[in-house]
Symmetry: C2
Subunit: 154 residues, 2 copies
């Protein structure tokens, strides 16, 4: 029943408060995100930049008009691997109250199809070492934890 | 003496064979890269796409006209972390015969400055779990191995 109404699409400006709420409603994200009310101009600026970039695709999953998931795709041309293009997945979230319904799996599968359609031969992502559930999730989807992910704050 | 001639700059088409040679001259890369002679059209296409993208910067390190290092930067706008921009580093190589001269450190420091100049508040990269020397290198440069890097071939 629910699945028949599940839809994936490019995000529009009107989705922005719902997406930011998803980013913040997370053990690690809650410490990093400012409330929409105080930082909406920053989120709007970032949205405009993402939306104007033909190599970016900010995605939402929607059920009956409600945003239940999000992720961000970047399609990156590169020289490595004989000049292949790769898809980068960032900022994956499923609404807390909709977890356990395999929406994440459906969203990721759709995102991987988008990468394939853009000619990517590789999809990559990093996930915090503390997100043990996420590790199992990505491994179930055929991702291999072959790399270490390094970050440096500027 | 050598350091005074070390220069970092945006790659141009004429650098392409040298960059591909650096990508291939690597324990893991050698199995992945086709020789320049048979795949040059694919590398040229990829170069054109990178070069035309304002959010990408393919970089080379040069000493006295010789390419001694390379890396690729992608500047990615995002909603996470209050709408912050991040720099992604890929395909880092230093010429085999010039390793141990701290050229990598100088190249990375320059690349991080480029990210800062583009307004990034975070720089990230992944490195194969087998590259133990690389792990020490990035940790010395202040990168934290906080994430797992997942990849899936398409």
């Amino acid at each position: 029943m629910i699945r028949s109404a599940l839809k994936f699409r490019r995000a529009v400006l009107a989705d922005l408060p719902a997406i930011v709420a998803l980013l913040a409603d997370d053990e690690l994200g809650s410490a990093r995100e400012a409330p929409w009310e105080t930082a909406s101009h920053r989120y709007r600026d970032a949205f405009a930049e993402i939306d104007a970039d033909p190599h970016q695709l900010l995605c939402v999953a929607e059920i009956d008009g409600l945003i239940v998931g999000t992720l961000q795709l970047t399609f990156i041309a590169g020289l490595s691997r004989n000049g292949s293009r790769r898809g980068l997945i960032e900022a994956v979230r499923i609404a807390r109250e909709r977890r356990g319904e395999r929406l994440g799996e459906a969203l990721l599968t759709w995102a991987i199809d988008m990468c394939r359609a853009r000619g990517c031969t590789l999809v990559q992502l990093t996930t915090d070492k503390r997100r043990l559930d996420a590790h199992r999730f990505y491994e179930r989807l055929g991702f291999e934890p072959s790399h270490l992910g390094y970050k440096r704050q500027l």
